[in-house]
Symmetry: C2
Subunit: 399 residues, 2 copies
């Protein structure tokens, strides 16, 4: 007999995205050719010059890249981020208001620990990114959801926003550009949320990891609407295409950032050092501009091809995302024919057709009967084949 | 007006070690020459061949080192760790019982979340590594301390062990080789703790980050005493000298490791990818043996020099550590002369003498009037000067 595990930690459930990732890795190791549409893994490698710089800094700064970093991040990177926010977002964020983190995910985790109060309400959208829910439950928040439907291009209605937010709200988490839907939150709705945040005095966590992955329209910089109330989450995994290096950052009011730094000292001590030098060079050398100019048109074309091929034939309904890395597609006709759910659908699709997608119900109730498909990991030809395979699968199970 | 920060997160206080680290970085940026004895930062760079391999893998495996890793770690690294544990510890740990983490610190954090129950007792030594306490308080545990005194070479007494552990105990955290004292826990005392763990049914978290930094005697592999009850924390920061890459691992019963993996998916998603390839090569290529053979005699000499110079003259009493990276030195004669405490002592020592050490009270009540000095970060000559400066400082303030 051995002791039991702490019940509270059972709030952390297995991420479907991570489970599928491991499953696909295993299938690949067995030599199977899997169409990998289940993760936001950029398919185009990072910029060549960035990789060369990495070699250079490892050689020349041998000592420093292997040493611990200050807990808040390298001062020069903090300053580079501050300049970058000014350049792209036209916002003034002093480096004292920034914390470099181990990916955006650590930023989300420590922000929830710092800002969400026990027994108060935490409001998230439905569907929304999977990682928030379990941590919110772990800190003892009551979760309320603002539904977003495909009929309204995944924009929340004013009524739904007003219904969810109240003086019981502790925090609202806004993801824009969104994961899984790719919608950019409409500015008038964002302003309404900020107005209500002032009225009811709650925090806004803005997950802006996909802020540079915009194909039509413009990113909405939430901190502009209220810098004292918005905590913005950011990543180098998406636009710089270095997710394996695990680097992100968070900015917001200084007293919040100080608290986040103290929490992180107990989890990861400090951000990884080498990736910080690379991120600094990425921001300051002109590589960022050049790289985005190169990859955004490619990802846009991939999106178009996947979207057009999915919806042609009328079996699948989908929202054409103006941003992000995913298409959120409605396959209810097929799951209903199966008398089953999107989980079972995705499971069979992976094993019978070798196409990996994430079941939509992972993202919330509204996602039931949907699947999330990444359009960045595979090339145009393989995306076309994957879409054909999905339709073939639906025809097979519906027939 | 903006909302308040969640009170519970105030349990996470600023780490003195991290604060000093940032302070020293600032002083150095101003051009000041600081004797850096306040962090477990290996002073000898990682092995040359390891660095060359890093270049090679970045070039040849360009795609893969930038991609996300599976959440539990690369399967080949898990297997390499399993073989390494067999080789050095003579223990059988299947790769399914191992989780790769973002430094040992993430392993400690997720282990506490999974194993420590609210309102139950968590037992730690006094003095002990600073990072446990705040997380234990955050999860709502009641902390009990087992004192260890310099008079007994920082070994806990049997009575103190029996007094602290009971059927109210949820977990005990054992650090061996110890930080800050460098003592290796006596085997009979470890066996007593394991016996009590069986009797009262609690978990043992064994922080073995310094397991290879042993100068006299042998590391005590705690998992050997009860593999079903011991969760072992490990690091690549110390023996491989790559703390900036943030890589560690934890092994223990499979069902615990599965829970830890789910928790980590919500904090860091997955361990960093590039460092895992480097760690695998470090373990499998023969570099580890060669590197330890090279650095251990150097660190042993540095320990001897710092120790001898500190205690000569009789102003300072210290324990000569058989392992680890630190000397825990008693400067009570000086703090009493100052009518002050070790914090104030360390603060003045840093600013007046440019020697950074960690105040002993950071590690617990018993540490009051002590300072922790790293003997690995600086070379022999500088360690000698630092010791002289400390004695000069004591003479100055006592005079």
């Amino acid at each position: 007999m051995t002791p039991s595990i702490a019940r509270k930690s059972s709030k952390f459930r297995e991420s479907q995205i991570r489970r599928l990732f491991a499953e696909v890795e295993k299938m690949r190791a067995r030599g199977e050719d899997v169409y990998f549409l289940s993760a936001g893994q950029p398919g185009i490698p990072p910029d060549e010059e960035l990789v060369e710089y990495m070699m250079k800094i490892v050689l020349s700064g041998r000592g420093k890249v292997f040493r611990y970093s200050p807990s808040r991040g390298l001062p020069t990177l903090l300053e580079a981020i501050s300049r970058d926010l000014k350049k792209y977002g036209k916002i003034d964020v002093p480096s004292s208001n920034i914390l470099v983190t181990t990916g955006a995910s650590e930023a989300i985790y420590v922000a929830i620990l710092a800002l969400v109060k026990e027994r108060r309400e935490a409001v998230i959208f439905d569907p929304t990114y999977v990682i928030y829910r379990d941590t919110l439950e772990f800190v003892g928040a009551k979760i309320k959801r603002i539904p977003e439907h495909i009929e309204n291009e995944f924009q929340p209605s004013e009524e739904a926003i007003r219904e969810a937010l109240s003086n019981k709200t502790s925090v609202v988490i806004i993801t824009t550009p969104d994961n899984p839907t790719g919608r950019i939150l409409d500015e008038s709705r964002a302003k309404l949320i900020v107005d209500l945040a002032r009225e009811y005095d709650f925090w806004i966590i803005a997950d802006e990891a996909y802020k540079h992955m915009v194909y039509e329209g413009e990113h909405l910089w939430l901190s502009k609407l209220d810098p004292d109330r918005v905590i913005s989450i950011n990543s180098f995994s998406k636009d710089a295409a270095i997710p394996g290096l695990r680097l992100g950052y968070v900015y917001g009011p200084k007293r919040v950032i100080r608290r986040l730094e103290k929490i992180r000292q107990h989890i990861t001590l400090c951000p990884p050092t080498l990736p910080q030098y690379i991120a600094e060079y990425y921001l300051e050398s002109g590589i960022k501009e050049r790289y985005l100019k190169k990859v955004l048109p490619i990802y846009r074309r991939r999106r178009d091809i996947l979207f057009d091929n999915l919806v042609s034939g009328g079996l699948i309904r989908a929202f054409k995302p103006p941003a992000g890395m995913f298409i959120f597609a409605d396959v209810r006709s097929a799951t209903e024919a199966l008398s089953s759910d999107d989980r079972f659908f995705a499971e069979r699709l992976l094993h019978e057709m070798k196409v990996s997608v994430v079941p939509g119900s992972s993202f919330g109730e509204v996602g039931r009967g949907f699947i999330r498909l990444s359009f960045v990991s595979e090339n145009e030809e393989r995306l076309k084949i994957a879409a054909d395979k999905i339709k073939e699968f639906i025809n097979k199970i519906s027939g």
